[in-house]
């Protein structure tokens, strides 16, 4: 029998890099399609920042100036941050918590799927939705809000905000590992709505009470929005490097927490 067993012994799988790329691509494509068709996701995540922008940036205050620029320009940066944060948190945490809690992730883990492909797909999808939101705000701002800036600044703003999806995707992965399928959306809202407010994403930062402004200094959306505002010339002129460092540190902490959850899951049974 031992010879028979030997004959069946393992060889490492040799996937061509092309095959691996195909898996990553399909995983991301279907994650994107899945969320795109999920009305819960598109309705809340895509339409809220856009609706807020139209209402507060285009209908109500379009002609006013704020922080050295026009309101429609200023709010692209803040609602852009808000949109990116929502798309990323819901895009990762809600799906992960549900897949984990209701058994789907186990089906995937039992298959030869490269585990990293699953997480990469969620992050990439969040970045794509983030880009869609920011571009929609650009389009509305340019056509209806008279937003004008050099093309390079639009590109930098888009790049910054889409890169800003990463810390929130990391946070979403951590949350997805420590919330259940039913509690995840509520937990996300409980964190993301107050955090948005305190970071000056709804009410411009300078109008916030002093206490709140101090809390903001430790909140990642504050730092992302300040980077975005810096590009449109409305930032608080703090060190750009510091903002990036805070976001990077936050990302690493969240990934560390997610990793603990990942390892804990190997030992637990769900479903």
């Amino acid at each position: 029998m031992s010879t028979a067993t030997m004959a069946l012994s393992n060889t490492q799988i040799q996937r061509s890099s092309r095959h691996t790329a195909t898996i990553y691509l399909k995983e991301a494509k279907y994650e994107f399609l899945k969320n795109l068709r999920l009305r819960m996701y598109t309705a809340s995540v895509l339409s809220f920042p856009v609706m807020f922008y139209v209402l507060f940036g285009l209908v109500l205050n379009a002609k006013q100036a704020i922080g050295g620029t026009t309101v429609p320009t200023y709010l692209i940066a803040t609602y852009g941050t808000f949109g990116v944060m929502g798309a990323s948190l819901f895009g990762t945490a809600a799906g992960l918590a549900s897949d984990r809690g209701l058994g789907w992730l186990q089906v995937k883990r039992a298959s030869p799927m490269p585990p990293f492909a699953y997480f990469a797909a969620k992050v990439i999808t969040s970045m794509i939705f983030s880009a869609v939101i920011v571009v929609a705000l650009f389009a509305l701002g340019i056509t209806l809000g008279g937003v004008r800036m050099p093309l390079a600044d639009f590109a930098r703003l888009l790049g910054t905000l889409v890169a800003g999806s990463l810390p929130f995707s990391a946070m979403g992965l951590a949350l997805g590992y420590f919330t259940g399928p039913n509690s995840a959306p509520a937990t996300i809202n409980l964190i993301y709505l107050p955090m948005s407010f305190c970071s000056g994403l709804w009410v411009p930062f300078m109008f916030l009470p002093k206490v709140v402004r101090q809390i903001a200094l430790v909140l990642p959306p504050y730092h992302l929005s300040q980077l975005a505002l810096g590009i449109v010339g409305a930032g608080r002129h703090e060190s750009t490097a510091t903002h990036w460092e805070v976001l990077l540190a936050f990302t690493m902490i969240c990934l560390g927490v997610a990793r603990i959850g990942f390892q804990r899951d190997q030992e637990k049974m769900y479903g």
């Binding site: 028979a4 004959a7 799988i13 298959s111 030869p112 049974m269």
Partner: protein
């Protein structure tokens, strides 16, 4: 009924010594709950094995250990002579698990396309759809499918990589009779392709209909193992049903009869062996009609086995 008990699978004897999956002295605890206690269990190449037991017996735990989704507290789980978590082994394994929620907005063919991409040599998508009976549903979103159709999609995902070893965890749980039979047919088709199959079930009829070998598991221990007929032989018995003018009392006195029940216009007798009882019945009542003989079935066998363990404390065979 009796015909259904015959096994559809002929084991390829050249392969039959090769162990493709095993649990070796496995203990698995969840906190204070002992899900598996010293389980030894083997699946040979080409075999269809049913792990049969009530809810909470440890069936799903056994499957998850063999899939490398969790680790035993002691002992070890092996597939293809190696670690179940080894990607090369996962490449040769397919699994149908109990899932609370599958992404509902993806279409059937999209789910299959994605899972097929994980494997080195997947079956063609037309072949997969055909094998799972999903040809007409490939454009439907998962969320729009019925329970039976959903199970068939999960089955399709398990077989799409053309794996050598197939784990089916309660494949037909919650399905109506027709959907169940349809899935059985699909499982039999995979068996005919030479797959090794481990299925868990608490439907005794299902183990009987599909498996070459049955391992009965209860409270984390394997309490009996053998072919479906061997398992039944342990509590041997036939059910004899007929319409007769003989009184219940007369019937009770026929040697070999252990139990008599009246059922509408017929009576149902239980006996260890059917032939002597039937001879006696026909001799005493020439008008006897509607004679049916069936095996007592795994249901009774299973109840008897689990009761035995409860009574004797520990009876490992």
């Amino acid at each position: 009924m009796i015909a259904a008990l015959e096994q559809p699978q002929q084991t390829d004897t050249s392969n039959s010594d090769v162990i493709v999956a095993s649990l070796e002295g496995v203990n698995k605890n969840y906190g204070n709950v002992r899900a598996l206690r010293g389980v030894n269990f083997r699946v040979r190449a080409g075999e269809v094995v049913a792990l049969l037991g009530p809810n909470g017996a440890g069936k799903t735990t056994a499957v998850k250990l063999l899939l490398g989704l969790m680790q035993p507290n002691s002992g070890r789980a092996r597939v293809f002579g190696g670690d179940p978590t080894n990607p090369a082994n996962r490449m040769r394994t397919g699994a149908m698990l109990q899932v609370g929620r599958v992404p509902e907005t993806l279409r059937v063919r999209e789910h299959i396309d994605l899972f097929s991409s994980y494997y080195q040599k997947p079956m063609g998508s037309a072949e997969i759809l055909g094998a799972a009976g999903l040809e007409k549903l490939s454009d439907r979103k998962f969320g729009d499918l019925s329970g039976g159709q959903k199970q068939r999609v999960l089955f399709a995902l398990a077989i799409c990589g053309d794996p050598d070893l197939l784990f089916l965890d309660e494949p037909t749980v919650g399905l109506d009779v027709e959907s169940r039979r349809m899935l059985w047919d699909q499982i039999r088709k995979m068996v005919a392709r030479g797959k090794t199959v481990l299925l868990t079930t608490h439907y005794l009829q299902e183990a009987d209909a599909l498996a070459d070998r049955v391992a009965v598991i209860n409270e984390g221990e394997i309490i009996a193992e053998g072919t479906p007929s061997e398992i039944k032989a342990k509590t041997a018995g036939k059910r004899i049903r007929c319409i007769t003018s003989l009184s219940v009392n007369t019937l009770r006195q026929i040697p070999g009869v252990t139990e008599v029940k009246e059922d509408r216009d017929a009576v149902e007798l239980h006996a260890a062996e059917a032939e002597p009882v039937v001879r006696e019945l026909l001799a005493r009542d020439a008008q006897l009609c509607g004679l049916e003989i069936t095996s007592a079935g795994l249901e009774e066998a299973f109840l008897a086995l689990t009761h035995d363990t409860a009574r004797d404390g520990k009876n490992s065979n």
